[in-house]
Each structure stands twice: as structure tokens, then as C-alpha cells.
Symmetry: C2
Subunit: 306 residues, 2 copies
């Protein structure tokens, strides 16, 4: 029996800003393009892993989203990117952080998974892998968009080091997919947050926090305030609640985001998918950019709460 293919993507959770409102049509178009590209892989019999990587590359190449091109600038005015990917059929994962100049960090995370027995490589060690695997590189300028440069100028003037150390940080894209063989995969990619300290690492590259996949339960990608996604170990917690309580995936997402982490003073969002095509989407923020094609083939695109 062929499993019904499905894919969900997100483009970050957080507040509704003027920039997001002004560019709503372009955001929706970017989400649609990415989710359709991923779904197309699945329709042609491709793997969930390929679908996730393809959808995320589409978001990474789109300067509207805070990852790869369009990444936020850190305190030094530079881009540092994190990403992770996990293959639910093998329970293998790859992650990278503090990445510069690699056009698609999600593909580098996949190289860590497939070409090494490491799971997580950071900084210049990861760049060496990108070079030896001949991944596409770009100059610093490629990643820096006028919007993010403007955000950096405004914020950098205003914030002291002490303010930066005390602020919370979000902004991520991600995808989960199930292929026609019933395998799931997940991926997450981020450009961090404007004016953050060099070396700050968020949830996106942390397996169990921002990214997790396991054919025995589900695939999950998270977004929001990375610090709370890490201490809540949100992705693995959703998987464990699903596994150990026998509830639906939507109930597992709701329980972890809205009940177990109810008092948390930060934005939390998650998308999730089982090998059987059951879906879960939950967030506690004003908005989460998201799109999905459900097992019945219907396309949905949403930014705000229902």
C-alpha cells in the first residue's frame, strides 16, 4: 500500500510586524512555492528527506525569511547560520552552527549526516566540510538584505551588551514531510536574530529541541524563542508524548506547547507529521508563517491565528 504523502513548512513564529503586513502577499507566495517544490518531490516518489531539503532551500534562497539569504545580522554586523536535518527512517541526524558563506546551510547539515559519523559540527570545521563536499558558497554580501541591514542599524544603536544578553531570540524556517513509503523527515534552518551575540546558538541545530524525526512516532520542526525550545526540549517531548500516551499528534503538540509549557514567557511553535499522515500544528504566538499540503492533496497557507 502506498502511504499518502504530505508536507508542512513553517517560516517562523513571533509578533506581527509592519514589515510582515506590508509583505504579506510575498510571504504567502514564498510559502506556496516552497511547499509545492517539496510536495512535487514526494509526488514523484522522492524521499521525505529530499522533500524537506528542497522546501527549506527554497525558503533559504528567499530573502524574506530569516535564514541563509535574509539572515539577521549579529552584534558585529555579520551573518551566522544554524541548521539541522533528521531522517526518521534511520534515526540519523546532521547539524551545523556558526556557519558563514554557505549558500544553503540545510544541505551542509545533510552532508554532516550522510558523509560523517558526527551529528553536529560548528564553525570553521563545518566550512571545511562544505569545501570538501563542494557545496555552493556565496560572498558575505549575498546574505545581507537591505531589510536586515536596516533592522541591524536600528537595533545596534539602541541595545547595550547587557540588553542583548537579556533579550530573547527567534526566527527560523522548517519543514516536515512523509513520503509514499511512510518515512518521515524534518529540517530546520535559521539566521538567528538581529544584533545577537556572536556564538549564540539557538534551538534550530539542537536535535530534540528544534528538530526531531523518528518513523516510530513523528517528525517535528520548531520555531520561536530558541532558549525556551531548548530548555523545554520541545521536539523530542512532542514525540515522547505521542509515543507514550497514545494521543493524536495534534493533542501531543497542544499538550507540550499549551499545557506543559504554559507559564513560559516566550514564543513556541511546532509543526509535526506522522508516517500515517496525521498532522499537528501548534503555536502560542501572534503568528506562525505556515503552509501544508495534507494527505488529501489540499494546499493551505496561513500566517495569523485561526
Amino acid at each position: 500500500m502506498k502511504h499518502p504523502a504530505a508536507i508542512i513548512i513553517h517560516g517562523g513564529a513571533g509578533h506581527v510586524t509592519k514589515y510582515i503586513k506590508e509583505n504579506q502577499a510575498a510571504y504567502e507566495s514564498g510559502l506556496k512555492t516552497a511547499v509545492m517544490k517539496g510536495y512535487d518531490i514526494l509526488l514523484r516518489g522522492g524521499t521525505a528527506l529530499d522533500a524537506v531539503e528542497t522546501a527549506i532551500i527554497s525558503l533559504e534562497d528567499n530573502e524574506l525569511f530569516n535564514c541563509a539569504r535574509g539572515s539577521a545580522l549579529n552584534y558585529e554586523g555579520k551573518v551566522e547560520m544554524d541548521a539541522a536535518v533528521m531522517d526518521g527512517s534511520k534515526r540519523k541526524a546532521g547539524a551545523v552552527s556558526m556557519i558563514r558563506n554557505v549558500r544553503n546551510p540545510i544541505s551542509l547539515a545533510r552532508k554532516v549526516m550522510e558523509k560523517t559519523n558526527h551529528v553536529y559540527i560548528a564553525g570553521s570545521g563545518a566550512l571545511q566540510l562544505a569545501l570538501s563536499e563542494k557545496l555552493k558558497l556565496e560572498e558575505d554580501d549575498y546574505f545581507i538584505t537591505p531589510h536586515q541591514e536596516e533592522e541591524y542599524r536600528k537595533t545596534h544603536k539602541k541595545e547595550s551588551i547587557r540588553t542583548i544578553l537579556k533579550k530573547f531570540i527567534g526566527g527560523t524556517v522548517g519543514a516536515v514531510a512523509v513520503d509514499c513509503k511512510g518515512h518521515v523527515a524534518s529540517g530546520t534552518s535559521t539566521g538567528g536574530e538581529v544584533n545577537n551575540l556572536p556564538g549564540r546558538v539557538g534551538d534550530s541545530c539542537i536535535i530534540g529541541a528544534g528538530c526531531y524525526a523518528n518513523d516510530a512516532t513523528c517528525a517535528i520542526s520548531c520555531t520561536g524563542d530558541g532558549e525556551f525550545l531548548i530548555t523545554g526540549v520541545i521536539a523530542n517531548s512532542i514525540s515522547k508524548v505521542k509515543e507514550l500516551t497514545g494521543c493524536s499528534l495534534q493533542e501531543a503538540c497542544d499538550r507540550v506547547i499549551h499545557r506543559d509549557n504554559k507559564g513560559v514567557k516566550g514564543d513556541l511553535g511546532a509543526i509535526a507529521l506522522t508516517p500515517g499522515g496525521d498532522m499537528g500544528i501548534a503555536f502560542n504566538s501572534e503568528r506562525m508563517h505556515r503552509a501544508w499540503i495534507s494527505p488529501d492533496g489540499h494546499l493551505h497557507i496561513k500566517i495569523y491565528k485561526e
Copy 2:
């Protein structure tokens, strides 16, 4: 009612080597000193967090253990250290990776937790925090012991880059404690593995993998092959099994290490403690250096299987 205080520490899981056998008495003495120092804090009414930090500093300062002084040398012949700490009473955490020259990485992880709203800072950004918080620094030579230099010389000659990319990596110290107020905490610190690639990050600094603490369930510190501890999200999985199945903590550790991760071709070890003083210790390797003082006040020191 005063809760009974207790503490468990580990000094890494893996194979039994000639070096370990030759230095067995010194290892046992090092474990005893560290666990007694931590317990002393608890007896004097100190916090689980202070006890964990104190025990780990004792192991970090002891050149026999692969963390801080005594760290393995990476492919470039340099020391890179990771550490994490989590306070179960607040569900707050701090983690650092790619650290050089900081005498006690566990204390820097605690500074990330207490002095910033970040959870995880890597590399030079973390060093800047160490400087501003006036943590004790040491020259490169302080961290490099004759034993680790010899291990590096032997291994570096033998291993090609491709071999390194394909090998698994372990070696860690850690502690969990419960204080007389019934709060738990955990900490983990590592020097990586000999000849590993610069930038390779293991489980020790990953909240949910090598370190997790939550007063609602338990505190956990893990050791072994970091890659499998990350993809198995071992620490959080033990906590979730304890929370959601109502089994004992020892049963939760056994289930996650020996059943859920049965097919895994790597060393996995965990120590765990509930606020009520229930203990869990499990490992699938030939040995796990460990010591504990149980709620009845008895001291235990072990290296090999029972």
C-alpha cells in the same frame, strides 16, 4: 520536612583500557574526592546546583578525567571543551562549546544560565563572557597532560581525515544532585575525543541529550558516544518516560538505554536522581566511572559492571 540529600557523579563510559587499569586507584580516589566535595555542600544546606558545580570542578581540575585539564587534543593538537548545567527548580540551563583557556567550563555554562537570557553560547562569544565575568583562565599548556599528548601523537599519525569523520566519540564527566529542599540539578563537562575534527560538538552541551533537570521529574547527566546520545535525546527521554509511564527512575533509565536504544552501536551511559532521592544508573558499555552517596549517606565507588 527536610528532603534527604544525595549525589551521583560519573567520569565517562566506554572501553576498559590499559591506562584505566594502571590508574584505577587514582581514578577511584578522584571520584571519591569529587563526590564528597559535592555532598559536603548538600550537608551544609547548599543547593543541588552548587553541589553539581563543585563536584564537576573537582573532576575538571583532575588531569585523569577527559575534561578541562586532561582534555583530549583535537586534530589540530588543541583542546576544545563543552559543558552544560541545568537547574531543575527553575528549568533554566546554560551551555558552552568550543571553549579554550577557561579553567572550569562548567562555571562558564553556569554564567550563561545566570547572567544572560541565552542558553547556549559557543566559541569566542563565550570567552568574552568568561572575561567579563572574571572567570579563571589558564594558558594552553595547563590543559594538555602528558597522557593526552601521547594519545594524540599515536592517533594523529594513524588516522586520515576520512577515518576521523567515520569514528565515534566519547568521554565526559557529569553530576546530578538533590538538595535538602528537594531541588535537583545536573551538569556535564567534556574535552571531546582525541584527534576529533575542530568544531565537532557532542552531547555534553546539548540540553536534553547529555544534560537535563526538572524538579517535576528528575535530573540526568549522560556519557558515552555523543552522536547516539544526541539522536536518542537520551536525557529528556529518560525524564519523559519517568513522567509519562509512572515507572521507577531505574526502570526509566534501563528502558531508554537497554530497550529503546538496543540496536545502537555505541556506548550510552546515564546517571539520574529524582527530588525524592530515587536513583537511576544505567550503561551499555564495559565500564562507567561512577560514584554516589545515596540518601542513606552511604558512599559507593565503581568503575566496571557489577
